[in-house]
């Protein structure tokens, strides 16, 4: 019997040597003349254990990790192909507490299947949502998505079904589905993991969206920093076309739909939906004033659904299991599951999909295991470069859109970056301003000029030049940016800056005073 060995093709695993591990395994298979097959799966998201190698044994899957190329020969010697004991044995991966405690709906297949095998996809429940959608009216599909409570996972949290309804209700011969795969937020990688680890779920979600609103063409706008995702998507798209999942007749129906991947060119602001559309049209990625909404006049002036990768990838499960099933997870107005990304100085960095409602403290301390450095956690930034820094005192905040907003923060794309007590919060505030300056699209003055001024002010504070006056200036500047900016780049940069100032004022005091206080 052929044994199946899994080595991830996920960028995170590759960055830790998975490519060399796969090569070493292939060469051992050859020299030892073993009947084995190597599958390049997605990552389970347990990055401190990557590269994590799994074997399909008669007792089920058995994992080993973190494996280096040097360990490979000894794994074969230990008969890992039958689940043999080895220093790197992890046992059944599904029983590793980090994974066992998750609720994997969107990420149900990631790490388990071969990402570009449609047979694997179908064997693990894939395409059921699309098949159901094909038997429903567009209005019913949209209602399911609305009733599920799914909100946009790209950051703004806008109800997905409501957006789709607007496009459905807007007449137009040509409509588009655009997937926002720009994933520019630092501390986030869930879009990348889905695209590399289960691209068919995104294809299925986009196709359901197309049927729901009457679109015939889809684009995935992918950031250029993700070459491995580009490869996986294009491989999966080719398979989907060949199998008739995409094309002139979706699964034999009257619906036509196809998807193309388009690469960005390194501009954070192109993650903003209107800038993204301009970029797709071949222009500078500048933010458009709204209205008109993309739903009315989007790509090339046509009605357009634009959604984040995870929003779209969460749709198949809603159609498959029903709105009520999805909505049952979560709390308040935050329904379903959210793939939390634990990053930075964390002992157990990785992807943790769970229903909304865990507290920030549970996520950072219990799941993330505190810091990797072993020092105390001092601050965590939630929601990317435009998200607020939270101190320990706010660790009882539940992971929920409204609860975070009430604490002057945001969930954003659900990335959490952990910092230990060596962090300098003035430096972090300065960086937020610097980043805004580098990435500003230049359309409005508060953002373009404010960011540059913000860096200067932070530098003066650092040098102890009239600190009280400078702090006042910084607050003024943040106010101007918050209320005078066209989009959230200028408008939300005050979140990291002001949260750093509010929760860690000691870092903004002149150094002599700071030292005296210690």
């Amino acid at each position: 019997m052929t044994v199946t060995i899994y080595v991830p093709r996920d960028s995170g695993a590759l960055a830790l040597g998975a490519g060399k591990v796969a090569d070493a395994i292939a060469s051992e298979i050859r020299t030892r003349g073993i009947n084995a097959k190597l599958v390049r799966n997605g990552s389970r998201g347990l990055y401190w254990l990557e590269p994590m190698v799994e074997v399909e044994t008669s007792q089920g899957r058995v994992a080993y990790g973190p494996v280096t190329a040097k360990d490979v020969a000894s794994l074969f010697d230990a008969d890992f192909l039958s689940g043999g004991k080895h220093a790197l044995s992890l046992g059944d991966p599904e029983e590793i507490p980090y994974l066992a405690r998750q609720t994997r709906l969107t990420f149900a297949r990631v790490g388990i299947t071969d990402p570009i095998s449609l047979d694997d996809y179908k064997a693990h429940g894939g395409l059921v949502g699309l098949e159901k959608a094909l038997t429903m009216t567009p209005t019913d599909i949209v209602r399911q998505v609305t009733d599920s409570g799914l909100r946009g996972r790209g950051g703004a949290g806008f109800p997905t079904g409501v957006k789709w309804k607007t496009v459905l209700d807007t007449p137009g011969e040509l409509k588009y589905i655009v997937c926002n795969a720009d994933e520019g937020d630092s501390g986030t990688f869930s879009d990348r993991m889905i695209m590399e680890g289960d691209p068919f779920i995104l294809i299925e979600g986009m196709t359901i969206a197309a049927i729901a609103v009457g679109a015939t063409k889809g684009y995935i706008y992918l950031r250029s920093e993700y070459p491995h995702a580009e490869r996986a998507l294009n491989e999966a798209l080719a398979v989907a076309r060949k199998a008739g999942v995409l094309g002139k007749s979706i699964l034999g129906s009257i619906h036509a739909f196809d998807i193309e991947v388009r690469m960005g060119a390194g501009a954070y602001v192109c993650g903003e939906e209107t800038a993204l559309l301009d970029s797709l049209e071949g222009k500078r990625g500048q933010v458009r004033a709204k209205p008109p909404l993309p739903a009315h006049k989007g790509l090339f002036g046509r009605p357009t659904v634009i959604n984040n990768v995870i929003s779209l990838a969460s749709v198949p499960i809603v159609l498959d299991k029903g709105a009520a099933y999805y909505k049952d997870f979560g709390l308040g107005r935050s329904r379903g599951t959210i793939p939390i990304q634990i990053a930075g100085n964390a002992r157990y960095p990785g992807l943790f999909e769970a229903a909304f409602g865990l507290t920030l403290g549970e996520i950072v301390d219990k799941i993330g295991g505190g810091t990797k450095s072993g020092r105390p956690v001092r601050a965590v930034q939630v929601g990317g470069p435009l998200g607020a820094y939270f101190p320990r005192e706010l660790f009882d905040t539940p992971f929920d859109y409204e609860a975070f907003a009430a604490k002057d923060g945001l969930i954003g794309h659900a990335g959490i970056v952990v910092f230990d007590d060596t962090v300098d919060m003035l430096k972090q505030a300065r960086f937020a301003m610097e980043f805004c300056g580098i990435e500003s699209c230049g359309k409005c003055t508060p953002c373009r000029v404010g960011a540059v001024r913000g860096v200067e002010v932070a530098d003066r504070i650092a040098h102890g030049v009239e600190p009280e006056k400078q702090i006042e200036l910084l607050e003024d500047l943040c106010n101007t940016m918050k209320f005078g900016s066209l989009c959230a780049l200028g408008g939300f940069t005050p979140y990291p800056v002001m949260s750093a100032l509010r929760h860690f004022p000691e870092d903004f005091r002149p150094h002599p005073v700071r030292e005296a206080a210690e």
Binding site: S186, G187, K217, P227, L280, P349, Q381, V417, Q428
Partner: protein
């Protein structure tokens, strides 16, 4: 003259790229990507070709090229090293690793080393935040940058 024949080569190649791709919806970025892929940068000589092929002004094309961080107006070194400077990597000592790399390679951000071996570029997140600090060398992803990895990178680009 060599210069002239190079110009002609660029124009000819750019023309065929434009002809091939201009039927795409929103063809400008894909064309620019292809041109940078081909030449390693977007040569000035290619701009009028693109402009006339797409019915745009030269200023329009230049405006787009200069807007995006990815497009280069001159050739890069033999290797391109991108180092993440964003928050997750900062939390794991990324700034210090970047300083060491700059010292070891003798280049600052956006610069190419004098021997033409390497161009150093900052990036703001590579999606490798669960293995910070991270970098990308000629498209190959690198996680958990430390002194050993830095030594390997330096050796590789100096080869």
């Amino acid at each position: 003259m060599k210069m002239q024949s190079e110009d002609v080569g660029i124009t000819a190649r750019a023309t065929s790229i434009v002809d091939e791709m201009k039927k795409l919806e929103g063809p400008l970025l894909p064309i620019l990507h292809e041109i940078q892929n081909e030449f390693g940068y977007v040569p000035r000589e290619a701009l009028p070709v693109i402009a006339s092929g797409l019915n745009l002004s030269r200023a329009d094309v230049y405006g787009v090229v200069s807007f995006y961080h990815d497009y280069r107006d001159q050739p890069a070194g033999r290797h391109v090293l991108k180092v993440c400077r964003a928050e997750s990597c900062q939390a794991m000592g990324g700034d210090e690793m970047a300083d060491r790399l700059r010292d070891a390679l003798g280049v600052d951000w956006h610069e190419t080393s004098k021997d033409g071996a390497v161009t150093l570029e900052p990036v703001y997140c590579l999606g490798l935040c669960a293995c910070s600090p991270s970098a990308m060398l000629d498209g190959e992803v690198i996680g958990r940058l430390d002194e050993d990895r830095i030594g390997e990178i330096v050796a590789e680009v100096r080869q």
